[in-house]
């Protein structure tokens, strides 16, 4: 199985992966540049959004749009982005965390009562057509995990990014990131143990 390794680097810092990716022409107009970036990277951004959004396609499309709009603004400001894939990964992750946190806030009982609205719940594994028991269990635990726990967990176990880099992305220390990942792992273990007892 192939692993999609993402390097999260600061905007102005070049990286090895940047050399492999089609360099966005600096001289091109911002609109052309962002369109070019969109053509090359929209599937990647959409995939990351799907991951953090628990498979909600409409939600992922919204995130994709927001991320490329932000890229357009960066180009207009004249920001040099040497590693578009890294920038997009980082921006998408942060955008997803922000959106998920907002959704959780709106889902809080007090806010729900006050505003009279209801945040959209992520799809259940069953709704996503996940029939495998263990897969459904992991999906359920991740759906209930906090945005930062979810992001840290994916970045660590799927993208294999170091704890330090994850900490830089989500704005926490390496130790706290480790704690977030350990919490999700413990919940999955507990759920498996509970499933075993019932099974």
């Amino acid at each position: 199985m192939t692993r999609g390794v993402v390097q999260l680097v600061p905007i102005t810092k070049g990286s090895e992966s940047a050399a492999r990716e089609p360099e966005i022409s600096r001289s091109a107009h911002a609109a052309d540049r962002v369109e070019s970036a969109y053509v090359h990277h929209h599937e990647w951004v959409f995939y990351l959004a799907m991951r953090y959004g628990g498979g909600d396609q409409a939600w992922a499309e919204d995130v994709t749009q927001d991320v490329f709009i932000q890229l357009l603004r960066e180009f207009e400001r004249g920001t040099e982005i040497h590693n578009p894939r890294g920038w997009l990964s980082r921006t998408t992750t942060n955008r997803c965390i922000t959106k998920l946190r907002r959704a959780r806030f709106l889902e809080a009982p007090g806010v729900r009562t006050l505003l009279g609205i209801r945040a959209r719940q992520p799809a259940t594994p069953e709704e996503l057509g996940i029939v495998d028991q263990d897969l459904a269990l992991v999906a359920r635990v991740l759906r209930d995990a906090s945005p930062k726990e979810r992001a840290s967990f994916y970045l660590h176990h799927i993208d294999h990014i170091s704890l330090r880099e994850i900490g830089e992305t989500i704005g926490h220390t390496k130790g706290y990131v480790s704690k977030l990942i350990a919490r999700v792992e413990a919940r999955i273990q507990q759920a498996r143990a509970k499933e075993g007892e019932h099974g």
């Binding site: 199985m1 999609g4 911002a30 609109a31 962002v34 369109e35 969109y38 929209h42 599937e43 959409f46 995939y47 799907m50 991951r51 498979g55 396609q57 992922a60 499309e61 994709t64 749009q65 490329f68 709009i69 357009l72 603004r73 207009e76 996503l128 996940i130 495998d132 263990d134 897969l135 269990l137 992991v138 999906a139 991740l142 967990f153 994916y154 660590h156 176990h157 799927i158 480790s178 990942i181 350990a182 792992e185 999955i188």
Partner: protein, 350 residues
Amino acid sequence: MADFDERPLQALDARFRSKRISSAGRERILSHLRRAADADRGRPTRRLILGAAVACGLACIFSGMAWLRMTNAPAPVTASLPEPWSLDPSCDVDMAAAERPRLRSGCQMAVENEPTHTQLRIRVWETAELSERTHGLSVHSGAVTFDVEPVLQPGAPPIEVGVPFGLIEVLGTRFAVDAMGSGGHVVLYEGKIRFTHTSGQVRMLEPGERLSWTPAEIVAQPDVARRGNEDAPVDVDVHDTTTSVPKPSAKRRLKRSDPDAQTDTMLEEVSALRRSGKLREALELLESLERRHRGRTREVLSFERGLLLEQVDPDTACDHWHRHSERFGTGRYSDAVQRRIAECSTLRPE
């Protein structure tokens, strides 16, 4: 973390990865990006226009300020003013218009009025624009205090001080004029003046009274003068006083151990009595007050009493000026007192 089984997670991730963005969604995002780019394309132009407008506005403001500065800029100061101006060397004069000198605050000068051979001494408190007139001066703007020598020539016309929308006629007096384009006011410290408004209204002023005017008319009733300068009326020199007579209750509240407060109250009473024309009562009160004080305060009170005496009993006033001169010698009012003694000698040869 090390022995965590990643396989189900990877399988779940592979599911997500296999999902493709819908073609409708892809097109929607792309068209949205194009719209956003088009909208932003106009933004720099708008910013440019706004920036240009702001720059133009600032340029207009600065050029306006520069123009104002040029028009108000003081021309080189000349060594002397044309006759009959006699200038204090320390006086900062703006000779922008030779016929209408602009005198800065703090400037003191003497002006000789040739027809009457009378000297007008002036002190400028706020930048003033002055000009000559046949029998005096005109104050076009600014705040100026006048000290005018008595006109001793029999039948000589009075000294005139022109102000916007009015004329002040004086005969041996001390007063302050605050003139501006929209009117002004005059405060009389000693002597007597007559204010004639361009509308035809005429008002006589007594010492301690104040009169205000506008382009249309005289608006304020005479009031007690209050100025905090050395040319201010006597009662202000001793302690700052208010224009109103204190209420009896307030007077009763004063403690005997507070002589300053008592003096203030009595001076206020003197002012009130003068305003109401009860000069003898004012004189008695001032005399009792004078006995309580020593030094400079006593000198000031004595001078003030002399001014009151001139109005009540001119003969007694002459004796008073002699006594004042013997007691205080070269005090701050020596010049004025000597003038009065000389005047007494002229009118009442011994």
